[in-house]
Symmetry: D3
Subunit: 127 residues, 6 copies
């Protein structure tokens, strides 16, 4: 299996979407950037056995909360849920970031989580 | 038990040092900042049961690698090892950050880990 | 008075809104994060007498301009005005940040201030 | 020619818009900030002969991709094209930033470029 | 008085050092950068009457604590003291930043303050 | 030629050092991170023809000045000189960053450049 095929399988498994859907904004002007994402982090990092996917995705949620890059944070909140984290665990780690990156980043991270949970139908009855 | 006593117990357990040692640089000019660290994150966040300490500390290592604050990163690499992460797991998560915060932050994080491992005698014979 | 009650009084006084309104986005998925904001910075930092509220809020506006977290910047521009800073003082400190964090952050901060001033009816007739 | 007149000429040349248009959001509440932008970077930095405008603007695109300040990034993507960079060169440098600031910043930079290219009619028929 | 002379007077007054001393690291390779600092922020921002120097310098200390640029933070802690802030006020604002930029930045800011206070002989008897 | 061999050739050519020397700090605890640097940015980005190496390295210097990661900034100042930029061009781009990331980052970048120039014997007679 090529690096691309291996990364595509991992990425599509984690995100539960096709790579065409994931990269629809990039593919007409920077297709190689999409390819790099598939071939490098998904083919070569997320496939390593040293840490399981559930923990990897929580750590990525922590990192993206600190960075404040909302579109990617939402993608990885979805991914974190897809690989076995509960909504409570995801929110907990975002909250924890208030100690390291301040309350604004933690609050904005929780707002992003709420949007994802809402899209997944996880906020019901009276929310 | 007061908030301070509870946080002190958790922090000293995680860091395997006394709070006096941990905050020796702060206590003569900002003792209340040390107290805040004990009473807020350690008493009120790290005591929560939603996520275990092993995972919390890995997420904190991820966050501090992204932030690039070396003294705190080294403290939490120590903490991550103390609560049950292996050196391999710690390095793996720091490496993973290259995809989210770039290679410079990941490389500087690994250099910090190497210093911690060396201080703990984990780099031996021919390393 | 409990830590929560004390922080609530301070926060509602500064923001001139109820905590329910302030945290309406967080309360269904991360109510403890709202509680932390009330109990820690508002109950334990903003109540300290070492620096007055007017100066504290200007410093927070400076910090949030640098961080670029717009929702919180807008909240604290409102707060800065509520505790006695003039619109001119607020804009002046945001402008000053161009020297420390570059023009983009200063410009985006001024745009946030303009939105707040507009919501408060401070931009009138020919402005 | 005054510092302002010199900077205005350079800025309007690079941006292909009048200063009134460029600073329409700032001029009613922070006109001096607009003036600083004209008189300092455009009059005193972009006029220097040590590096040509084409290279300067690519370096600014790199910096703003890292900073993630989208409105200014879009302005300078436009500027980079106006002073002689091709769309391919601009996208290439934004992509390169994935190695230094991570994939999220690079992806958000490419999305900004796509918006600019679209506004300029550079994404056509089947792109 | 030229812009340079005006800025030099303000900067030397605030820092209580000559510009030659302040910029000794820059003058052989980037003398124009030193000149920009004198002519732009010190001549054109710090001279404005909208906010007094005491408040300006506290806001700058807040910003530099968030940015984590230690040499400049130490310069401005000195400046903040020189223009009338007490050591307690300076430490208080640095501590306040824990809520906005996290504990690591606040702790590193306090450590920088301690070094400055020590150099000024403000940490005595038993410290 | 394998991805590794291609990246090694490019990296060693740009840095004028062997990969063993470049990664001596990483190789005993994170050899795969070194390999990723060789195989991804050097094999797959710096080899692309869309932008020449001279411009790529200046853009990287801009990015690293903004990020403030000094060890990597120094490596890329060296690289920028090795691929044909003059010391004046490198300093000019670092200075330009004062407008986008503030004076502290620009000043710290120039100090890094001075250290590199000194190591290369470029600061002579009276410096």
């Amino acid at each position: 299996m090529s690096r691309y095929e291996k990364g595509k399988e991992v990425l599509e498994g984690i995100q539960d979407r096709s790579v065409e859907e994931i990269f629809k904004d990039l593919d007409d002007i920077a297709p190689d950037l999409s390819r790099f994402v598939v071939e490098f982090p998904y083919s070569e990092i997320y496939t390593r056995k040293e840490v399981d996917l559930k923990t990897r995705e929580l750590c990525t949620v922590a990192a993206l909360t600190v960075l404040g890059t909302v579109p990617q944070l939402k993608d990885h909140i979805n991914a974190a849920l897809n690989v076995g984290n509960s909504p409570v665990e995801v929110v907990e780690i975002i909250m924890q970031m208030c100690a390291y990156a301040g309350f604004p980043k933690a609050i904005n991270g929780v707002v992003a989580a709420k949007e994802v949970f809402d899209e997944r139908g996880l906020l019901q009855s009276g929310d």
